[in-house]
């Protein structure tokens, strides 16, 4: 099973401002040392050696993750603005010929999780088929509403692909049971759902967007149990712990420190921090990540998860 991240930003698409690009260029040039800046190969090697957030960015597109089984079955989780890039890439496959089939899961239908849908080109190709699932009632109605003429000029009926909408059952078996999906409700305004996808002997959990109102007891244990043993846990780390518990309590998001506690207790292999706060620049996100690693170092547990910052283009093989 593989997971590719096409959108990792929270709340609203966040293009990198010019001054931040300029800042990165200046910093990279200052750090070039004795690299021969007239030698393109040397410059490319140097740039490739820089950390993700210095040679590029964590990413400004909102939530979209592609999960693929070893057999090539595809589940798309959420349709944030990152879906546009995924859709364009899919056109190079059978989806470009109107012969594709994929499943889609929606964690919830806040804008930042559906706004990419009108720009998802495989939906416009006749012959493609999609099964679309959500735990929320009337996912079709919710998505169709976004295509109301007052908000977008193209109605959903114009999108020629076959789209079948479903209320997700407690246990979902996809692709002749090669992939299984279960869900758990998350605390988020309007409710969001975490999905656990099992395939090829591995488990991938998508848990965005979520606030954890209790950090102990039965409430805590139900999430530890749902995340238990996952190879990858994708976690809503939009806020610092101070924001999550004090300044932005009840706003529906969590922090990396809570994620590390959950992942450690659940025996998760890798936790990927996503839903980055749109008002935070790449350096601030890096500082929060570094702090979370310091927190991890302080933990008494000897079995610890790998901690990653989610970024656009991140590909994980489970």
């Amino acid at each position: 099973m593989k997971a590719r991240f096409w959108g990792v930003r929270g709340s609203i698409p966040t293009p990198l401002p010019s001054e931040q690009i300029e800042h990165k260029i200046v910093r990279a040039l200052l750090g070039a040392g004795d690299v021969d800046l007239t030698d393109e190969a040397a410059v490319r090697a140097y740039v490739a050696s820089l950390p993700v957030h210095e040679r590029g960015c964590w990413g400004g597109n909102t939530t979209c993750v592609q999960v693929t089984s070893d057999a090539g079955d595809t589940i798309i989780i959420d349709a944030g603005s990152g879906l546009r890039g995924l859709g364009d890439a899919m056109l190079d496959s059978q989806f470009g010929r109107g012969e594709g089939y994929a499943a889609m899961l929606f964690t919830h239908t806040h804008w930042d999780h559906i706004q990419g849908l009108p720009f998802f080109r495989p939906f416009y190709v006749k012959g493609n088929r999609f099964d679309i699932f959500a735990r929320h009632e009337d996912i079709h109605g919710r998505l169709k509403y976004q295509h109301d003429f007052r908000f977008f000029p193209v109605g959903m009926e114009v999108m020629a692909a076959e789209k079948n909408f479903h209320l997700m059952p407690d246990e979902l078996h996809l692709f002749d049971d090669r992939m299984q999906v279960t869900a758990i409700a998350l605390d988020h305004p309007g409710v969001a759902y975490a999905y656990r996808i099992e395939a090829d002997g591995h488990a991938f959990v998508m848990a965005s967007d979520a606030e954890y109102r209790e950090l102990s007891g039965e409430y805590w244990d139900k999430y530890v149990n749902f995340y238990r043993g996952a190879d990858v846990l994708v976690f809503d780390a939009q806020y610092t712990l101070r924001e999550a518990l004090v300044e932005k309590q009840n706003w529906g998001h969590s922090s990396a420190m809570i994620g590390i506690d959950l992942a450690t207790e659940a025996g998760v292999g890798t936790i990927v921090m996503v839903h980055h706060e749109p008002s935070y620049d790449d350096d601030k996100i890096k500082r929060i990540f570094d702090d979370s690693l310091r927190y991890l170092d302080r933990m008494p547990s000897t079995v610890r998860p790998t901690v990653l910052v989610g970024y656009e283009g991140l590909m994980l093989e489970l």
Binding site: L215, S216, G217, W220, T240, L241, R242, L245, V246, S255, M257, I258, D261, E265, D291, S292, R294, Y295, R298, M299, P300
Partner: protein, 111 residues
């Protein structure tokens, strides 16, 4: 994890020994809430606390927010470096009244 409660009728000194994590935080919370319900000020002695997780921080910040209402005073004291670093990482250090020792905190609240 062990909790020892001392002090006076007006002020409780609650010493926490060991780890405050998802499993032990509810006991710490219960003990601290009991003292507040009894109308006492709180001194939380962390000198024998070797680890505080996000669950422990949540218990303490919940009480600190209540203390801001003025019904009781709350001081933390005796933090080991490792625990103080967790407070720093969380951005919590400035949200608490932190003293070097229980004696200093008690003297301040009984002055």
């Amino acid at each position: 994890m062990e909790i020892e409660v001392g002090g006076t009728d007006a002020l409780a000194v609650v010493a926490v020994r060991g780890r405050v994590d998802a499993y032990t935080a509810p006991d710490v919370e219960e003990k601290l809430q009991e003292q507040v319900a009894a109308g006492k000020h709180l001194v939380v002695d962390l000198s024998a606390t070797d680890y505080v997780s996000s669950a422990g921080l949540r218990v303490l910040i919940t009480l600190a927010k209540r203390a801001l209402g003025g019904q009781f005073a709350m001081r933390l004291c005796g933090m080991q470096d490792a625990v103080r670093e967790v407070f720093d990482i969380a951005g919590f250090t400035k949200l608490f009244e932190i003293r070097e020792s229980a004696a200093a905190a008690v003297a301040e609240l009984t002055a």
